[in-house]
């Protein structure tokens, strides 16, 4: 007979048991460290929802801003027993978690649009895709019942357009990718065979590299990248494989080294190699704002909308926010024991905000990048029917930056929305400076390079958001540099008296919802710790 107690000592604990033990003894950060060692979770700092409990009876928290960071804070703090209220400037909740549909109004500085999309169609002006490792967003989608679907990111059959390559004719990403590695492999092979790297690599590695270059680059017997059936297996065909008499495929010509380099396709290859751009990606079915709506279903009753905060003061016993109701002009004050402020730095820097000079300096040293999105509703899915493109992005060096094909309702009839522009930097400023109508016209002009026969004739209606002209944020998201992080980041995120800041700007996941949520969890965990000790 085996003694069950003894067996626990004899059988090594499973990894799960061990992690549970470490979590119990060392807390979340020890658990995270251990999970990293075991090869788990290294891609996220998320270790599960915070286990906050036992708020002091009557303890209250005021949250400024009903974006995802603010609503998550309210959701978790309420569960912990705090009395929470949220003040929100806009008449809607969600912040940059935002989707526009037919009938919606978009108000920018200087213009108003009414969206005319057909029922079911939408544009996500803000966040639009969720990487598989953004575990916090995915966790709360699951917890709150937000249905996610696949978001097509990398599409080998979409285009790359460079005005200075191939006479300005867009090329399929697949062709350029295969040509690029073929030529690089051929050149490295030549260098190796010429002995140019003999002092750099061992003879053993040299042999392996030559084999690798031949296979990776699909080189011929003489180690050259040339037209062949094997290249066709990757690059596609002039005549694709078929059945019967003419079943044999015919490979296409490969691109020259110079043409390939002119496209700068390494930029797209690099883009898809970034951790945050890798597959698998997800999107909420029907629009990103389903996440905001799911949080609103939980904490919407705590939100006071149309409330412009004008001043925040704190003393030894609590915080006071002074505000104006933007509908009625009524002035008011809200007092609470603690404050979570998620107002973006662009606005917060203009507020009478009672914090240290160091924190003020941090807020004011945080510029926001700009971005523009333009959603072009087309009468039919010609990119699918005529080009065999199902989701993914076609890139261009014009101001629009890219166009992105819709995921969801593939093969559907009726109109669908193409994302017709998503630039940062110069292109974003130039498009943002135009009226919405001119912006849409420019997007149609530039995007026509990919689908010249259809783009303008199939266009039905457009909608656009220039983030720098959204009156409640005046920018897209925070732009940190290594220097500004070193000088200001800790001052920005530190809890000062009764006030703590949260949002994507208080994270190392800038511009991502994951950053907003992680920042919020960190902020409320510290707040709870301090409130419990007070």
């Amino acid at each position: 007979m085996t003694d069950p107690v003894m067996s626990d000592f004899l059988v090594p604990p499973t990894r799960r048991q061990l992690l549970t033990m470490i979590g119990k003894v060392g807390g979340a950060s020890a658990l995270y460290q251990a999970m990293t060692v075991f090869g788990h979770a290294a891609e996220s700092q998320f270790t599960g929802p915070p286990k906050l409990s036992g708020a002091k009876p009557g303890a209250s928290v005021l949250v400024l801003g009903a974006g995802l960071a603010g609503m998550l804070a309210a959701y978790e703090l309420t569960k912990a027993g705090y009395k929470v209220q949220i003040l929100e400037f806009q008449g809607r909740t969600g912040g940059r978690n935002y989707t526009v549909r037919g009938g919606d109004t978009i108000t920018e500085l200087g213009s108003t649009q009414t969206v005319d999309y057909a029922p079911g169609n939408y544009l996500n002006p803000g966040p639009w895709r969720i990487p598989y490792h953004h575990r916090t967003v995915l966790h709360y989608c699951k917890e709150l019942g937000v249905e996610l679907e696949h978001f097509a990111q990398l599409n080998h059959n979409a285009f790359v357009h460079n005005s200075h390559a191939y006479g300005g004719k867009p090329q399929r990403y697949r062709d350029l990718y295969v040509d690029y590695k073929g030529h690089v492999a051929e050149l490295l092979g030549k260098s190796l065979n010429a002995g140019a790297l003999d002092t750099t690599v061992t003879a053993e590695d040299k042999a392996k590299l030559l084999e690798a270059m031949k296979e990776w680059g699909v080189l011929d017997k003489s180690m050259a990248y040339t037209k062949s059936m094997k290249v066709g297996d990757q690059r596609g065909w002039e005549r694709p494989p078929g059945g019967g008499v003419n079943g044999a495929p015919i490979p296409g010509e490969v691109g020259t080294l110079s043409d390939t380099l002119s496209t700068k396709v390494w930029q797209q290859i690099g883009f898809y190699t970034e951790h945050v751009m890798q597959t698998t990606m997800f999107q909420p079915k029907g629009g990103m704002d389903h996440i905001g709506k799911a949080f609103t279903a939980k904490v919407g009753n705590l939100v006071r909308p149309n409330t412009r905060v004008t001043k925040v003061a704190q003393d030894g016993s609590g915080v006071t926010a002074s505000w104006t109701d933007t509908r009625t002009g009524t002035l008011g004050e809200t007092r609470a024991d603690w404050l979570v402020c998620t107002i973006p730095a662009t606005i917060l820097g203009q507020l009478d905000f009672q914090v240290s000079d160091a924190k003020k300096a941090a807020i004011r040293a945080l510029p926001y990048g700009n971005s523009v999105k333009i959603g072009l509703e087309m009468k039919r899915r010609f990119w699918e029917t005529d080009y065999a493109i199902y989701g993914g992005h076609s890139f261009t060096d014009q101001d629009i930056g890219l166009i992105s094909y819709p995921t969801g309702n593939w093969f559907g009839d009726g109109p669908a929305v193409i994302l017709g522009a998503y630039p940062f930097g110069i292109g974003a400023y130039r498009l943002a400076g135009m009226t919405p109508e001119r912006r849409i016209a420019a997007a149609l002009d530039q995007g026509s390079v990919f689908h010249p026969g259809e783009y303008k004739s199939e266009f039905r209606s457009g909608a656009t958001v220039a983030w720098n002209r959204m009156p409640w944020i005046l920018g897209c998201c925070a732009t940190w540099t290594e220097e500004s992080r070193a000088a200001h980041y800790q001052d920005l995120v530190s809890m000062e008296g009764r006030i703590v800041l949260a949002g994507e700007h208080c994270s190392y996941y800038g511009c991502w919802q994951e950053g907003a949520l992680l920042s919020s969890l960190d902020a409320i965990s510290r707040l709870h710790q301090r409130a419990s000790a007070a």
Binding site: N162, E274, F395, G401, G425, R430, P471, Y509
Partner: protein, 148 residues
């Protein structure tokens, strides 16, 4: 002149803001991989219309309301001292980023000259030498009352 040369052109001066907005160094979301490759001319009017007007609006009167405002450039007394706009374009302030990564020294000088002369009555031109002087002496960013 192509805009993309702007960062290189200014890199020789001792600027604090070395990183570029298009390459922020951390995992920010972004659109296209390479960005726009189209050029803006050295005309101050063109630079204003294609870059500055995005936020400060085509009439240079800014926008928004108290507490959430983009400042006006038209009739702006701060622009009397030409060092003031130079420092802001080189270093940014508040929600406004620096523009050293997308504008050349020539373009920065030209657009400040245009804004000071066209939307205000400060007719003395700003030159590349002025930009270099600010870049090398590295003065602090003037205090920001950012809209108050």
């Amino acid at each position: 002149m192509k805009l993309k040369g702007g960062f290189v052109a200014l890199a020789a001066t001792a600027l604090v803001a070395a990183a570029t907005l298009s390459d922020p160094g951390y995992a920010q979301d972004h659109g296209a991989a390479g960005g726009s490759d189209t050029a803006i001319s050295d005309s101050g009017k063109d630079v204003f219309e294609q870059i500055c007007a995005a936020c400060h609006m085509p009439d240079a009167k800014g926008g928004g309301e108290a507490g959430a405002r983009v400042p006006a450039l038209a009739g702006n007394k701060n622009l009397k001292n030409k060092d003031y706009p130079i420092i802001l374009l080189l270093k940014g302030r508040g929600g406004m980023p620096w523009f050293t990564d997308i504008l050349t020294k020539q373009q920065i000088a030209a657009v400040i000259t245009y804004v000071r002369g066209h939307f205000n009555d400060y007719k003395d031109p700003v030159t590349v030498a002025d930009i270099d002087r600010i870049g090398s002496t590295n003065p602090p960013v003037p205090d920001c009352n950012c809209g108050h």
